[in-house]
């Protein structure tokens, strides 16, 4: 073997030099012989160290049709269906087919929206595989177990700590939100531990995550953040504090509201917004100059009303400027407050402020009352109407859907997109019925399907599968462009139904 190797080196040297420089009789014949000797004599090399095998999978394997579906969805990188497929498969506790793990990890590497579900579904075997390929490192930073109590083990805590200390910004935000959902105090403690060293724009987004599980315990931290170096951080802290009706900030705001709004003898509201924005107001997050198109005084008024606890308007004892003669014995409902006459110049600001307060303070009674008004005057006040979709988000799911169903029935789909996305899925019968009626109307009126593409996209995700036959019927009656759009919609619903049935 050694002799052959030497001979071979000599042959290569001769060949490189060229036979003009060094005679080498029969060089190619000898090289062919040596080549064949080498090839015929090949033996396996010493084995390299083999990585430890993957942990055993305890979850049941996917049913075969579901595995085929997953392979197809991954191959076409389906942005519509893959997220729902992964969420469902993960929730139902199936194991990922091992041979699809590389495609799964590749897909989630490109699309961070898939990561949490993809990595959880990939499971311990996915973790094992990701540790061997630098391109899949991201998967190691997503905790394997999320919801189950196992996450509290020391090892998981170490992992979590590593994410917070070394993770990418988005991963840190995700981690903090999750922790906050599970254990608000622990989330606050984690954020405090590094707060002083975070960059201003990061502080802002981290602070935002405190909306999850916000409570009185957060007040001292938020109160301190009112003195933050960054203006946006200060404003966000103030907004969060105003969502805590018992906070000192809320009380200060109520006091400002008392000075700005007087209850008149005839039950009206006499509004006189502040003339200036003093240092204390600014410390509580109110900008000195209106950042919007509205005048400064209107803006200050809006900020004060939005941050004042809504109970303030309903408590007769604290109602501002109440005279003995106008003593109210029954606490006024939001409806009765809204029914009062308001100084016309400031009426819009008051309503806008109440609406923002209802959203911030998650006050369903106020949201319901404001929405009732909005619905009646949807057309005339659509522009200044603030955010009915945000008001809706305060209501229970079924109520959101039925309110939206009535809205769609009255006003069609043109303004409905934002409302529809707040509704629970699959849409209840009243809502899906109203949407389909409206689509039928639009198709019949000869409007362009693509002007409804936003609503159609939501409908694809949210209509119940049982709507497919009705959509088929609509398609059969429609002109060609609508027929195509509607059949595709029905097809997508059926594909979704089949896909979820496979995962049963």
């Amino acid at each position: 073997m050694t002799r052959t190797a030497e001979t071979w080196t000599d042959l290569v040297e001769d060949a490189l030099l060229g036979t003009n420089r060094r005679a080498s009789p029969g060089l190619l014949d000898r090289a062919a012989a040596a080549t064949l000797v080498r090839r015929a004599g090949l033996r396996p090399a010493p084995a390299p160290e083999t990585p430890a095998p993957a942990p055993l999978e305890g979850r049941p394997p996917l049913p075969a049709p579901a595995a085929r579906r997953l392979a197809a969805l991954l191959a076409e990188n389906s942005s519509e269906l893959l997220p729902q497929w992964l969420t469902t498969a993960r929730r139902r506790g199936f194991a990922a087919p091992p041979e699809l793990l590389p495609a799964l990890l590749d897909a989630a590497r490109q699309r961070s929206d898939l990561r949490a579900d993809a990595v959880a579904f990939a499971g311990a075997r996915g973790h094992w595989l990701a540790a061997l390929n630098p391109e899949w490192r991201y998967a190691l930073r997503v905790p394997v177990v999320e919801s189950a109590g196992e996450a509290d083990t020391a090892e998981a805590a170490d992992d979590a700590n590593a994410v917070w200390q070394e993770g990418l910004f988005a991963e840190r935000v995700t981690h903090l939100s999750r922790l906050r959902r599970r254990d608000p105090a622990a989330g606050l403690a984690l954020l405090r531990s590094t707060w002083a060293t975070e960059r201003a724009e990061d502080r802002l987004l981290f602070l935002d995550t405190l909306q999850e599980g916000l409570g009185p315990d957060d007040e001292p931290f938020l109160e301190a953040a009112l003195a933050d170096r960054a203006k946006n951080v200060r404003a966000t802290a103030a907004e969060l504090l105003s969502a805590l009706p018992g906070s000192a900030l809320a009380a200060r705001m109520a006091e400002r509201a008392r000075r700005a709004v007087t209850f008149t003898d005839d039950g009206g509201l006499l509004v006189a917004p502040p003339e200036s924005c003093d240092a204390d107001m600014q410390r509580d997050g109110i900008a000195a100059a209106s950042p919007t198109g509205r005048g400064d005084r209107a803006f200050w008024l809006g900020e004060i009303v939005a941050a004042t606890p809504l109970a303030f308007w309903s408590e007769p004892a604290t109602a501002p400027g109440t005279t003995a003669k106008a003593q109210v014995t029954v606490a006024p409902t939001p409806e009765s407050v809204l029914a009062r006459t308001v100084t016309p110049a400031w009426a819009d600001e008051m309503r806008e402020g109440w609406a923002r307060a209802a959203v911030r303070q998650h006050n369903a009674a106020w949201a319901r009352a404001l929405l009732a008004e909005r619905r009646e005057v949807a057309h005339t006040r659509a522009a200044s109407g603030g955010a009915p979709s945000r008001l809706l988000s305060v209501l229970p799911a079924v109520e959101r859907a039925s309110w939206t169903a009535r809205f769609v029935a009255d006003h069609g789909l043109a303004e409905a997109f934002q409302l529809l996305v707040t509704c629970p899925t699959p849409w209840p019968d009243d809502l899906s019925g109203a949407v389909l009626d409206s689509l039928a109307g639009a198709a019949g009126a000869g409007s362009y399907p693509w002007s409804h593409s936003g609503v159609l996209g939501v409908a694809e995700r949210c209509l119940p599968f049982t709507a497919a036959p009705r959509i088929d019927a609509l398609a059969a009656a429609a002109t060609s462009a609508w027929a195509e759009v509607l059949s595709r919609l029905a097809d997508t619903l059926r594909t979704r139904a089949a896909m979820l049935a496979e995962l049963a």
Binding site: A15, A40, L42, P44, N133
Partner: protein, 457 residues
Amino acid sequence: MNDRWSTDHVLSLAPDAPSQKAGSKLAKPEPWSGTGASQEAVWGACKGSGSRPYQTVVALDGPAYRCSCPSRKFPCKHALGLLLLWSADTLTGADVPEWAESWLAGRRRRAERADLAAAPAAGGSGATGDGSGRGEGASPAAAAPRDEAAAAARRRRREARVAAGADELLARLADQLRDGLAEAPSRGYAFWDGVAARMVDAQAPGFASRARDLGALPASGPQWPARLLEEYSLLHLLAIGYQRHDALPEPLAATVRSRVGFTVDNADVLRAGPLIRDHWLVLGSRDSSDDRLTTRRLWLRGTRSGRDALLLSFGRPGTAPELSLPTGLVLDAELAFHPAAPALRAALGARHAAPSAPATPRPQGTSIEAALGSYATALGDDPWLDAWPAVIAEATPVPTDHGWQLVDATGAVPLFTPSPWRLLAASTGRPVTVFGECGHRGFHAVTCWTENGPLIL
């Protein structure tokens, strides 16, 4: 027993990627009506944009396709969609509609006629199945009687041209060697591409492709001089071998002729026999393409004889080669081996049944060391052989700093496969049965078997 084809296999029948996609879109129940499947065929009617649904039927032994749609793709998306539905076990009907039965009956009659026609010769039927579909009906075995004398004259003319080509090739190799291989990188591709073109003119495609490959080797990374000298010496050996092929013993002379590029028609191979009937396990298949041709290599192993066989099928660029066999299933069929040694390349003769599930879940394998030994033995018959088929019983893929390795108890060889991560993931880091080609460059994996059955890599 599950004889249905895998999704991967069905998709491999598609002529191109858009067809795969279009076929997948039709792989759902809604557009279909009157679907069904038997041992022989699958059928169904698919609603298209027109008023009349398209009638689609696929005979599984070919497969051969027939569809009333006007598509020029072959097989069309309807046939693919139907097969995908079948592969997902969603075709439940059993009554063959009249339109499908009449076509199937016609096929059966033609097959019988072809058998009869071929019987006096060797008892085989057509060459590589009748996947040509719409063009079928022409009996492949019943070739026109040829003019023996003219054919012999053509052969002599070609042999003279190839011999002149071999002379020129030897002269070029000697030229290059006189100046030294150190000059090779500065010559680039052009020199050997020119030689390759002259070898094409000399009707010696085997010389041409080897000459073309020489041009790329100086850019192939460290150790290129050694690789270049190896290939120089083997091409030199082949040219010398051709000059003297009249004096070589017959199996070796046939090997030299085949390496130079003289082909023998599958039909002639089948006619010459002997025909070997066996239950052939489809070990795997792999397509490769250059700008002129897509080549499909299909490896079979006789479950009774233990013999390995290689079928080749060709297609124009962008079209799938005609022959397609489902990996992991067993084919009751007759094969005849081409004359070269060692016997590997074969022609597919009569098939006696549609592919079915094998008796054992995975093929029997050997060690990496034994696979290299088989390669060495085969090299004794064909010095130009790069690799030899092998099933490794318990192999683990391992990523290392110097690329992938396939490892078993006897050691390691470099591993090549289009998606080694897929192989590693499927193995979960534990030994799996792997089929591939084992040779002097390492192991090129094609198929692996896990507890869930065969997986195309």
